[in-house]
């Protein structure tokens, strides 16, 4: 019975959930850094940086995550000694970075050009204007897409189980192989992910709502003297 498995396994799975959360959090934070850098590459005037970003995004978006994870897991090992956690986190960060880059690029480019011009005309340098004027607006605008990508990132983190990590899914696989109850165990694992994601969504929605409220109604009140034609 699912209930039995749930009750007998929850200390284990709670611990695994914590690992999944940590892993995802670290991976997504790194992913945001990577994404920001790549986004700047893409909007920069340098052809070389542009090209690097283009190739990076094309390759990451053009190959399955599990392949990327396995390549990075073994590829990184040739270069540096990394714990499993960090190998997994970096692989996920590299993957999410490509998607986050596109989100950031879209958000930055959606900010009215006038904002940069006004900043420059006030004597702000390009980096200063980016940091103080463009990025804060872009981040805010990116939040819905970013929230969505974070949910995807959380789910995708399950694949590190296949390089041996004892995250939620890795633990689920191990449990099922010892209790011989595949189906029920997997359903329990699914439930954990579902709850995690629903909690996360709840907070993203709240954040979005608060940001929307922080902003004023789209138009200022105006005296509209109706004109008869």
């Amino acid at each position: 019975m699912i209930i039995d498995i749930f009750l007998s396994s929850y200390p284990l799975f709670l611990k695994a959930t914590w690992l999944t959360v940590q892993l995802t959090a670290v991976a997504l934070m790194l992913g945001c850094v990577v994404g920001l850098v790549i986004a700047f590459f893409r909007i920069s005037d340098s052809k070389v940086l542009n090209y690097i970003a283009h190739v990076y995004i094309t390759v990451i978006r053009g190959t399955p995550l599990i392949v990327q994870i396995c390549i990075l897991y073994f590829g990184l090992a040739n270069m540096v000694t990394l714990s499993q956690f960090w190998a997994g986190a970096i692989a996920l960060a590299v993957h999410n970075g490509a998607y986050i880059a596109e989100i950031f690029r879209g958000a930055i480019q959606s900010i009215d050009r006038g904002q940069m011009e006004a900043s420059r005309s006030l004597g702000m340098s390009y980096p200063l204007a980016m940091r103080r004027i463009i990025l804060p607006q872009a981040f805010r605008r990116a939040i819905p897409s970013l929230g969505n990508q974070f949910i995807i990132g959380l789910k995708d983190s399950s694949l590190v189980a296949y390089v041996g990590m004892q995250d939620l899914w890795g633990t689920g696989l191990g449990e099922a192989a010892s209790n011989y109850k595949q189906l029920e165990t997997y359903m329990v694992v699914g439930l954990y992910y579902l709850v995690l994601i629903m909690i996360f969504s709840y907070f993203v929605n709240k954040l979005e709502a608060r940001l929307a409220k922080g902003k004023a109604p789209t138009k200022p009140a105006k005296d509209n003297t109706s004109v008869a034609a």
Binding site: L12, S83, Q84, G164, A177, Q182
Partner: protein, 245 residues
């Protein structure tokens, strides 16, 4: 070091009491040799590793790694050794250094209960066989049926569980693993025919690490001699699995 998270391997890391870590890998989905019980990695392979570590004056750190990448993981220095029921094969001997065998077991055919068409390995021709990726059972399957009839899994247990679904006609795996599965009611499965072979399972270390082989062999001798091995084997199987049956 805890067994949950693999430390940066290589044995340099110092663990509890200033002892060096002895990090060794297994699939973790190979009951009763390696599996999880209440989250603790346990099983015959785990305890053998612990006994060996003690003799070597090291700190035992068992970790899990998918079976199909267990040898590359060793190469990539993610752990010092594989104590993961690796069968010694000539092919693998090119990739790793094996110690002396630490147990012997058989490769066994399992089928769904009530299946009358498969009585021996000769009956497997053209039948759908499930095995674990990168195992010596895969080599057996390739000999006994057509290549496109073989399904490769990450875990022997998963393969055994896919017997009753009708997607497989037979599974080849370790005798002990299958019998344990049957005993614990994993599914309506039976073993058929004689074991295909008696295999020697050994501990693997990286090529060139002769020193480690000697150190482990010495420790292995010691635990066999002082009865530790006997105790562990009796606990898990009710007999000594180092001896030829």
């Amino acid at each position: 070091g805890s067994q949950e998270s693999a430390p940066a391997a290589g044995g340099q890391a110092s663990g509890e009491g200033g002892k060096k870590d002895f990090t060794y890998a297994m699939s973790g989905v190979y009951k009763p040799f390696s599996f999880k019980e209440n989250g603790q990695l346990t099983g015959f392979d785990v305890e053998i590793g612990q006994a060996l570590a003690e003799k070597m004056g090291m700190n035992a750190v068992p970790i899990t790694n998918p079976f199909e990448t267990i040898i590359p993981g060793l190469d990539a220095k993610k752990y010092d050794a594989v104590i993961g029921s690796l069968t010694v094969t000539p092919e693998r001997q090119k990739a790793v250094l094996f110690t002396n065998p630490y147990y012997r077991s058989g490769s066994q055919i399992f089928v769904q209960e009530g299946n009358t068409s498969i009585k021996s390995k000769e009956d497997l021709k053209g039948k759908k066989i499930g095995v674990v990726k990168a195992s010596n059972y895969l080599d057996w399957a390739k000999k006994l049926t057509d290549e496109d009839k073989i399904t490769q899994y990450d875990s022997d247990i998963t393969a055994l569980l896919d017997l009753p679904t009708g997607r497989l006609d037979a599974v080849i795996t370790d005798q002990v693993v299958g019998l344990r599965f049957i005993k614990e009611g994993g599914g309506k499965v039976i073993d058929v025919g004689e074991p295909l072979s008696f295999d020697e399972q050994a501990i693997a270390v990286r090529l060139g690490d002769q020193e480690a082989v000697e150190r482990i062999n010495k420790a292995l001798d010691e635990i066999v001699k002082d009865g530790t091995y006997e105790k562990i084997s009796q606990k898990w199987f009710g007999r000594n699995i180092l001896q030829k049956q």
